[in-house]
């Protein structure tokens, strides 16, 4: 009964989705890093779905940026997806850090999966 789960979803086949729900900070950042390692280990594209996340802090952004860098090094797709209604505890930090084009952040899990499949992994690196 984890109120803030982070699970891998393999349904899309060649793109693995890391589904992040609830509040995440320095306490759960190590778990996210593990899941991201696992996802990168699968060899395909990676999507991190924040649709059901209610709060993420800079430790979480740090974990995402590290994973993105590794995906880029391996020329793999890496995309973050959000829902149509983004929680203030997620939207605000993405907005003010200017990370939307960088990560990149895309609306909708399906669109993110397609982009990751195409090898998208953010603005010019």
């Amino acid at each position: 009964m984890d109120a803030n789960p982070i699970v891998l979803d393999d349904a899309a086949g060649d793109v693995v989705v890391v589904v992040v729900e609830g509040e995440h900070d320095i306490y759960t950042a190590p778990t996210l890093r593990e899941r991201l390692d696992e996802a990168l280990g699968r060899g395909g594209g990676v999507v991190v779905d924040l649709t059901a996340a209610t709060f993420v802090d800079s430790s979480i952004l740090g974990a995402l940026l590290d994973a993105r860098r590794r995906a880029q090094e391996q020329a793999r797709g890496f995309v973050v997806s959000v829902g149509a209604e983004v929680e203030p505890g997620v939207q605000r930090i993405l907005d003010i850090t200017g990370l939307v084009p960088v990560l990149p952040v895309i609306d909708g899990r399906e669109a993110a999966i397609s982009a990751a499949r195409d090898g998208v992994s953010g603005s010019p690196g």
Partner: protein
């Protein structure tokens, strides 16, 4: 404004404490009928300040068995709520003395999200971060403290 805190939260400087502070703050702001946008900013800024205490304030992650504390004071006045995050740790060291590479996003976020902020040495040694959040805002504080101006640059951003 009196300096006696309305409420003081004291706990161990551990990763799980950060969420406890955030939730307690949210619960109390609920009682104050706080604006939801300001509350979201306050939760974010206070999270970053507490994270810094957990990550940076104490040298050896509590392995020496001493009580590495995280203290959070809430002070309310007519204009807004001031949150003070305090530790008894090593104090902020010059940049060269730091070892671990980090995002460096915590203090810039605190500056951007608060209506006023101050970082200073705490009287007990260690560091004190004071952040004020107004009940009513004329403008978004991010406008006057854009993160770019604090020196933070997103990685790989076309410059």
């Amino acid at each position: 404004m009196t300096e006696r805190p309305e409420v003081r939260l004291t706990m161990a400087a551990l990763p799980e404490g950060v969420g406890v502070v955030r939730q307690a703050l949210a619960g109390m702001a609920d009682a104050l009928a706080f604006d939801q946008g300001v509350l979201a900013d306050m939760k974010m800024a206070v999270t970053e300040a507490c994270t810094n205490v957990v990550v940076h304030a104490y040298a050896d992650d509590g392995s020496d068995g001493t009580a590495d504390t995280l203290e959070v004071d809430l002070l309310a006045d007519e204009l807004g709520l001031t949150v003070v995050v305090r530790d008894r740790g090593s104090g902020i060291k010059p940049r060269a003395a730091r070892s671990t590479p980090a995002l460096g996003l915590g203090l810039p976020l605190i500056a951007a999200l608060s209506d006023a902020f101050e970082v200073r040495g705490s009287s007990g040694g260690g560091t004190e971060v004071r952040m004020t959040f107004h009940y009513m805002r004329d403008a978004d504080p991010v406008e006057s403290n854009p993160i770019g101006e604090t020196g933070w640059v997103p990685p790989d951003r076309p410059t």
